[in-house]
Symmetry: C3
Subunit: 153 residues, 3 copies
């Protein structure tokens, strides 16, 4: 690509870009059933909270197990699920974490290749800096709120 | 994240990134009914043009009112709308503005949580630099063209 | 936008951003029927491989012809197709190429404006550096795998 003068880039921009990269890898791991590698993109004590759960799923072992079960169930049903994150709104917090609010879309594809829009949700993550990780982040906490009635802010 | 030598980044890249950030916040404000804050992401005399409108909606007051009405109507119907921008193609113009051509997808979710693909459109924005704004941009004009018959370029 | 100290940006980040820009333009060219310009975003001997094809489509002439035929067929049927790439996972290779794994979604819009989710696939590209190109890349090879049964990694 052409070399030009270095642009004005804000710290927020670098944050935003690394978060996008993080989610891309994160979702490929999830959807291809690489449950252990996916769980390793959470902090060791990371949590996943959603309305359908009795309690948050906490820690990599529990996260991996949950995804393995889901993937086995999908395989048995002949469906593939694909997760997209979009409209990723990332805000740096004073403590070095990143607060992300984004949309999550789940596309289900049946065995004959027919896709359908399966779920849409609001996803709120707190990401913690992890310099040793490929993109520099781990998920400390995730709150998923499936869309239904119109939400406030 | 790992520190390495600064890469070759073009001005276009910085532009592209800040525009993505701008749209993320813009859509969260829109879809959560924060109509006044959303309208403030337009220039004071910003315009919104779409085929179904008798005339362009012009100015923050009119833009906010239009979104408030839409949000109230959706709330009454029990539906949530979620707007995604994608394939954001941003080109810097000589006058400092950014000319953006992107896809817009509206996902509607009924009260029982069932999502459907509601609309797909082409969105053409002219963004003006606004250094005091969080991402550095405001919408000067937006033209929305819903997809129907195959379009030329 | 605000000027701050230059952030830590990795080479991977610059790669990721230019690849995103590349795909945005690439898809607008494809979907608006600018077949020759789209074909020019492939390397001269670039290839396109998909399960439904007897052999890979190879070279710009063949790529452009294939897209012209598809676009004419869609125009006759009154449908518009829109391609979205998402969850773009780009990895630099030692030889200077970029290996990309991403999701591809095709949205079909009928003449009356009704959109539907038409296809979902996994897209694997090898991009080669092309400093003279707007975003610095050309597609050397593309493998498209439509989603059906759950895939391994």
């Amino acid at each position: 690509m052409a070399m030009t003068a270095l642009p004005e880039i804000t710290d927020t921009s670098a944050l935003y870009l690394s978060v996008q990269q993080f989610y891309a890898r994160h979702m490929h791991l999830l959807d291809s059933g690489r449950a252990r590698e996916w769980a390793d993109t959470f902090a060791p004590d990371g949590t996943f909270t959603a309305p359908g759960l009795d309690a948050p799923v906490r820690g990599r072992e529990a996260l991996a197990t949950a995804v393995e079960q889901t993937h086995a169930r999908l395989a048995a049903s002949g469906e593939t699920h694909r997760h997209w994150h979009g409209m990723v709104w990332a805000t740096p917090a004073a403590d070095g974490t990143a607060h992300v609010k984004c949309y999550g879309m789940v596309i289900a594809v049946t065995a004959d290749g027919t896709p359908r829009l399966h779920r849409h949700c609001l996803c709120e993550d707190v990401l913690v800096p992890a310099p040793a990780e490929p993109e520099g982040w781990l998920v400390q906490s995730r709150h998923v709120t499936p869309d239904a009635a119109p939400a406030g802010h």
